[in-house]
């Protein structure tokens, strides 16, 4: 299992520019928003957390559709599926998601404090947003894995996978953003939405891999 994790990490770093594409896209999102809302720094600070979350959500979608497709195209997927008695397929999926998250999403989370500065956010808000991103983005990857598995047989699933995933990620976004706000604005709570966010991630850490594994198994032909 560690071997699979290492292999996928290596592939992610060596083959694709996944890491940087994500960060740069993220940067593009953050760079464009000020043009929209104008130079009003207060307003920027207010929507900062939301924009970071939306940017991270959209950046995660990049490359997610190839999560299983690449393995299918070179025949590895068959062997991974056949090994499902030694390594439960759901666990295999979970490991692959972890590797994808580590190579493509974690860099975003690490870059987000810097972008928070660009958006003129307060330190507390930046910290809270980074924390919620760290806790919440795995859920997006896990939901995405279901979409990627469902569409694995389609050679160009990019848009379709995103369409399938996006509606399901909305709760993650809602609670992520509201926890981030809760940390700065007084009446709003931080702990409650943060715990719900954690719960969502844990929930999808259980449900996602099983659903994706079922979809993968039925995709073999």
């Amino acid at each position: 299992m560690l071997a699979l994790f290492l292999r996928d990490i290596r592939l992610g770093l060596r083959a694709g520019g996944g890491v940087l594409v994500g960060i740069l896209f993220f940067l593009a999102v953050i760079a464009v928003v000020p043009f929209g809302v104008g130079p009003d720094l207060k307003l920027l600070a207010r929507i900062g957390a939301a924009m970071l979350w939306i940017g991270a959500l959209l950046a995660t979608l990049l490359g997610l559709d190839r999560l299983f497709q690449a393995d299918r195209d070179d025949g590895s997927l068959d062997i991974l599926i056949m090994a499902s008695e030694r390594h439960m397929l759901a666990v295999t999926v979970l490991i692959k998601c972890l590797a994808h998250w580590t190579t493509s999403v974690l860099p975003l989370v690490i870059a987000s404090p810097l972008l928070g500065l660009f958006m003129n956010m307060e330190p507390a808000a930046i910290g809270a947003t980074t924390l919620t991103l760290l806790v919440g983005t795995p859920a997006i990857t896990l939901i995405g894995a279901v979409g990627a598995a469902v569409a694995v047989a389609l050679p160009r699933g990019g848009l379709l996978v995103s369409v399938i995933i996006l509606p399901l990620t909305i709760p993650v976004l809602i609670f992520g953003v509201s926890a981030a706000y809760g940390a700065v604005e007084d009446p709003a709570p931080f702990i409650a939405p943060f715990l719900i966010l954690t719960a969502i991630t844990l929930f999808f850490a259980v449900i996602g891999p099983f659903a994706a594994a079922a979809a993968l198994k039925s995709s073999a032909d």
């Binding site: 025949g75 068959d78 008695e85």
Partner: protein, 201 residues
């Protein structure tokens, strides 16, 4: 150990390709599947591997060796695709499959030696020639232990010498009470193998 199929049927896209297929292969025996293109050889292998639903009938492994409870878990499947990543080196690829599928009779270095790739294990898999790629994926069968080998046109692209080498590997596997089931258009050099001719309705 015996692999037994009883009135097996296979379908593709809703259409039955073969049905009522029965055969039994015991330890140390080989089954060679032949037949024209599109007769369902690959389909049959994928059904045995558990990658495709059978349409009807049954297939099972009797008295299997310990550790291999189900048929699927006892099988190595070598299809048309090699299951290797072009950007990783041959050794990295094999080391991954070894730790994922469990160890076998050969170490990594020995396996590479056996398929004559000893000195190019460090090259990215994508740089190999067709035959070398095929040999590298044959090495995957050696680094993890599985009693049943399912081979789909294993020698496509191999030169004469490698073909002979591979026949030797299969004979060794059979001598260790393994089972070989191969779909092929080319003679494999296995004496005394059962032959199953498909598509001869």
């Amino acid at each position: 150990m015996r692999l037994v199929a009883e009135s097996l049927a296979g379908a593709r896209g809703g259409e039955v390709l073969f049905s009522g297929l029965s055969f039994a292969v015991a330890s140390g025996e080989a089954l060679v599947i032949t037949g024209p293109n599109g007769s369902g050889k690959s389909t049959l292998l994928r059904i045995i591997a558990g990658l495709l639903e059978k349409a009807d009938g049954g297939i099972k492994l009797e008295n299997s060796a310990s550790g291999f409870d189900s048929l699927t878990s006892a099988c190595h499947y070598l299809g048309h695709l090699n299951g290797m990543k072009p950007v990783l080196s041959v050794e990295e690829n094999l080391r991954f499959w070894q730790s994922f599928n469990g160890p076998g009779d050969y170490s990594l270095v020995e396996a590479l030696e056996r398929v004559q790739l000893g000195d190019i294990g460090h090259l990215p898999f994508g740089y190999l020639s067709t035959g070398q790629k095929r040999r590298a994926s044959i090495a995957r069968l050696l680094v993890s232990e599985r009693p049943v080998w399912l081979l789909d046109e294993p020698t496509a692209g191999l030169d004469k010498a490698s073909e002979e080498q591979f026949a030797e590997l299969m004979r060794e596997h059979l001598a260790k009470d393994g089972i070989v089931i191969a779909a092929t258009h080319l003679p494999l050099g296995l004496d005394g193998a059962q032959e199953l001719v498909m598509g001869g309705e």
